[in-house]
């Protein structure tokens, strides 16, 4: 950006700002994984919309509930939900695996190994899943 007024002179420092490609994250698997995890946000938002449609249909009666299930079984929605499920699982697994870094637990003056913290998260996940299966499917 050298205009007439703002030309480079010998003693004026210039900013060094290398341009980064928008696709910088494609070079390494770890950064691809990072971007994929980032994208899970869109799919979580979609799920909330999907779920609220279910609640809305339930409120309108049995016929609307059946209609919702038929809509959910249509190819487009089904495909979207398959992708959503993959992203949500990826979010869950990476989230639980990261838990030991975010949560440092000390017990009796010693730091609890990370595997315990991650393990506790997985146990909680199983319990939560079983609870929802039981209360909804009962």
């Amino acid at each position: 950006m050298t205009t007439e007024r703002n030309r480079y002179t010998e003693f004026r420092p210039r900013w060094y700002r290398p341009r980064m490609s928008t696709w910088w994250w494609l070079k390494r698997w770890s950064s691809v994984a990072f971007i994929l995890r980032e994208l899970s946000s869109i799919f979580i938002a979609w799920f909330i919309y999907f779920f609220l449609r279910l609640v809305h249909a339930l409120g309108r009666g049995d016929a609307a509930y059946r209609e919702f299930l038929a809509w959910a079984a249509s190819p487009g929605i089904l495909a979207l939900n398959v992708i959503t499920f993959a992203f949500v699982l990826f979010h869950a697994v990476t989230w639980f695996n990261l838990a030991p870094q975010a949560m440092v637990v000390h017990l009796g003056g010693r730091r609890l190994p990370g595997a315990f913290v991650a393990g506790a998260n997985y146990v909680a996940w199983v319990v939560a899943t079983a609870f929802v299966l039981w209360i909804v499917g009962r």
């Binding site: 979580i44 938002a45 509930y65 959910a72 639980f96 899943t129």
Partner: protein
């Protein structure tokens, strides 16, 4: 870098709590209502049972909290996706307004749907 504002740590906490809630409850709910019931893998629960379940005030309050936290989690994460992934740091104000705005509108919608239920 990001401006240091007193609200930022709070947003990160909501992001974390929302992340836990999303990880714990979204997979099972999506499995049931996205695949198992629509495709007939499992017999779908009766309308009466689900209405009784969602009709309970405590369940509705919990669902509202789950929806709000998930939306805030998603908004916060998407904000940083736009910052870092697409390198749009110069559009900070617009991005913040858009992300949390959508989360706020979604939460209000969730509140209305759950409030008017039944």
């Amino acid at each position: 870098m990001m401006a240091r504002k007193p609200i930022e740590p709070g947003l990160w906490i909501l992001f974390s709590v929302g992340g836990v809630v999303a990880a714990m409850f979204v997979p099972v709910l999506l499995f049931l209502f996205g695949f198992a019931y629509p495709l007939g893998w499992l017999p779908s629960p009766s309308h009466t049972h689900l209405v009784a379940l969602v009709g309970h005030p405590l369940v509705r309050i919990l669902l509202f909290i789950v929806c709000t936290l998930c939306l805030l989690h998603a908004a916060h994460r998407f904000r940083y996706t736009l910052y870092d992934g697409l390198q749009l740091q110069h559009l900070q104000e617009l991005i913040v307004l858009f992300c949390y705005g959508v989360a706020l509108v979604g939460s209000v919608a969730a509140g209305v749907v759950l409030w008017q239920f039944g």
